[in-house]
Amino acid sequence: MIFYPLGKYILLLKAVFRRPEKWDIYRREIFREMVSIGVGSVWIISIISVFLGMVTTVQTAYQLVSDLIPKSIIGSIVRDSTILELSPTISAIVLAGKVGSSVASQIGTMRVTEQIDALEIMGINSPGYLILPKIVAAVITIPMLVTLSIGLSILGGYLSGTLSGAVTANDFIMGLTEGFRGFTVTVSMVKAIIFAFIITSVSAYQGFYTSGGALEVGVSSTRGVVISCIMILFADYMVAQLLL
């Protein structure tokens, strides 16, 4: 049951990475997609990241009832949970909804309106032309978005902690800097790159094999988001298990 779609997905990826007809055109498409995926998602990622940091601080402070535990630990917990898990994973799930659905519906609409057939008739490798720029753009911009998300989450945590009185500014900053391991950022970036690939390739696969009409485009889009989310969480576990 799973082998047929998996085989089709692998064959599609093989076609995606075939040598481009003209690098210039692909490069232009990559920049266009970087604007669409990266710049177009800055606002939503910024909003969710600030709230992520705020809620992490509030809930961590709520659970630290013992006076034996220093308050600075709140900063450390916010830092590590943000870098390792919350920023890459929650951002990826939000981007699966925003970018993934857009990729699946865009390619799916092109399929049902014969635009993909038109590309193939011209002798253009349609998977390469339509999907490769999206994957490359996502793999470049999503780690940037995750980096932004980490910064804003920590800022949100700092603001909520200090404004609510749950932790002092000094304690929070001390917690942030104490025992910091740079490897956590590496793990976060590895996750971001893998998630970016999953979001674009899985959604593009769903869109590319759409058949029917508008209803099926909607189904492909939904399926792209759902499968991407499951794959993101599976990959999240695998990366954590392998790297940590």
Binding site: E21, Q115, I121
Partner: protein, 250 residues
């Protein structure tokens, strides 16, 4: 010239094409006609490689297209222009970008040269000055004409047209038919048109193939069609009282 030999195609249990052979000659409008579900669009898609036939071959001027790899087919595809039923213009591009797209992909021409070619193609389909419009801003007939302009931008040797008159009023349909006819004669293109529009059949059908139940039932010209005693063809072409009356007057 395009030759098709013993083309077979099935989709699951559905046997759509049951061994079709024919020749499509250069400088002629070759029409494939037949009722809905008779296999005409499937045959067209097998000819251009959008479907892989289960058996048989498609030969473009001696080159067996069905035996070629994706890379080997690219050279032939560059010689093919196609107008789709839905026009299939790229929504995100303007008219100018749509027509320039194959030139950008496959030529090393300067932007000025490409723009000259785009303007020539637009002028050829009577759409001068519409360069900056998007497909959403065009009427159905205009979309078809832009589709034709895009199809001829690479100066194709073979032109495939799928249901050029669907969704168009009779007057616009005639304009599109005449345009296809003019382009075919002017550039000596091998044109293959899938249609069930009787005006097209009688107007531009130099060579007509009638498909019935996945088989080639009849082949001839528009002059011969009125005289045929083939029952299936007569039932299809002269289905209405109006066409029956017209036939009696012939």
């Amino acid at each position: 010239m395009i030759e098709i030999k013993d083309i077979h195609k099935t989709f699951g249990d559905n046997y759509v094409l049951k061994g079709i052979s024919s020749e499509f000659r250069e400088g002629m409008n070759n029409l494939i006609i037949g009722g809905s579900g008779s296999g005409k669009t499937t045959l067209l898609k097998c000819m251009v490689g959008l479907h892989e036939p289960d058996g048989g071959s498609v030969i473009y001027d001696g080159r067996d297209f069905t035996k070629m790899t994706f890379e080997e087919r690219i050279d032939i595809r560059k010689e093919i222009g196609m107008l789709f039923q839905s026009s299939a213009l790229f929504d995100s591009m303007t008219v100018e970008e749509n027509i320039m797209f194959p030139l950008n992909m496959f030529t090393t021409q300067s932007r000025k040269e490409k723009l000259e070619r785009v303007n020539f193609c637009l002028q050829r389909v009577n759409l001068e000055g519409k360069n900056k419009l998007f497909p959403a801003e065009l009427s159905g007939g205009m979309k078809k004409r832009v589709g034709i302009a895009r199809a001829i931008s690479m100066q194709p040797k073979y032109l495939f047209v799928d249901e050029p008159n669907s969704g168009l009023d009779p007057k616009t349909s005639i304009v599109i038919d005449e345009l296809i006819n003019e382009i075919t004669e002017e550039y000596k293109i091998t044109t293959v048109v899938v249609t069930h529009d009787m005006n097209s059949v009688m107007g531009i059908g130099d060579n007509i193939i009638f498909l019935f139940d996945g088989r080639k039932e009849w082949e001839g010209s528009n002059k011969e069609i009125a005289k045929t005693d083939n029952k299936e063809l007569n039932d299809f072409v002269f289905a209405s009282k109006f066409t029956q009356a017209a036939k009696e007057k012939l």
